[in-house]
Amino acid sequence: MSATVDARGLSCPQPVLMTLDTLKTVDHGEIVILVDTDTSKENVIRAASSKGWQVRSVQPEGIEYRITVAKV
């Protein structure tokens, strides 16, 4: 299963909450989270890691980041 969380334009703690909500509904697979601040990037990575998800990649795209996390 896969899902995308678009948290661009939102400030903390909103991106973290959206990520946590999505992680709750998906028990494994791949999730892509889009954010546009360094703070959101760090916090979303922590939120996913704290729930046992692995960070596959963090790709900068202009001023945005595309974070891919996965759980098998």
């Binding site: 400030s11 903390c12 703690p13 973290v16 909450l17 990520t19 946590l20 601040t37 360094d38 703070t39 760090e42 916090n43 979303v44 990575i45 922590r46 939120a47 704290s50």
Partner: protein
């Protein structure tokens, strides 16, 4: 630092079209309560219709010119005392997210509403060399300012720094405010880590505080007694968190 407040003026920016006036009334009432507690008088104020709510006070006080506690007086050999635990920035983010427990929320509010008046009154009995209050730049930022102003190295024992309950858990969940990351990054070039510091602990050291405690540098021979008296005065979470180790260009060493 080291002075006595005399008058205070309200400064308030309020979205009058968006929020109920009763909120404004409560804020001003709470502020007034604290002004009285501080022994000062409210002398008017300024209000602005603004998009985002802001409230503060402009305070004028008196201090003997020879007894100003600046952040520039820390001397090698001094002991560092911090009078409040850290974590209000991270907890405020957790509260906004609805993830803080009721107990943690109550503790954070109580801590933020606690004046530094009593701590200062206890510390006035001792030969304080340097003092600063911990606010938006976090312990790390304000300690660095003290180190640079005093041209010394402050050595902080991270395990001794008091931290509020749940703060490390919330930091691990990604509930760290932007200001705290900014503090951490801003201080990075003047902070030395001895051993491995847990990154979450580093974030708490850099966490932007609202109404934080006093960081005081005082001679080692009086530090234990000062701490005892702080505890006896009810400032129970105050702790010795490190020392001033040597002359330098201004460095904070975390251990």
């Amino acid at each position: 630092m080291g002075g006595r407040p005399i008058t205070a003026m309200n400064i308030v920016c309020f979205p009058i079209g968006k929020l109920d006036k009763s909120i404004l009334k409560e804020i001003l009432r709470g502020g007034l309560e604290k002004i009285y507690e501080a022994g000062a008088a409210l002398a008017g104020g300024h209000s602005v219709d603004d998009l985002e709510l802001k409230y503060g006070l402009s305070v004028t006080g008196l201090v003997h010119p020879d007894r100003v506690w600046a952040n520039a007086g820390a001397k090698p050999g001094d002991v560092l005392i911090l009078t409040k635990p850290l974590g209000t920035g991270i907890l405020a983010t957790a509260i906004k997210a609805g993830l803080a427990s009721a107990a943690a929320e109550a503790a954070a509010i109580e801590l933020m509403a606690t004046l530094n008046k009593q701590a200062a009154e206890v510390l006035l009995l001792y030969p304080v060399h340097g003092c600063t209050d911990i606010t938006g730049f976090g312990l790390l930022g304000h300690a660095l300012e003290m180190a640079q102003a005093s041209r010394v190295t402050l050595t902080i024992e991270t395990a001794e720094v008091p931290i509020m309950a749940e703060v490390l858990d919330h930091a691990g969940m990604g509930l760290v405010p932007a200001g705290s990351y900014a503090n951490r990054n801003f201080c990075a070039s003047s902070v030395r880590e001895t051993g491995t510091i847990d990154p979450l602990l580093l974030d708490v050291m850099a966490d932007a505080q609202t109404s934080g405690g006093l960081l005081v540098s005082l001679p080692p021979e009086v530090a234990a007694r000062a701490l005892e008296n702080l505890h006896a005065a009810g400032i129970e979470q105050s702790a010795i968190i490190g020392r001033v180790s040597e002359r330098s260009r201004g460095i904070v060493e975390l251990r």
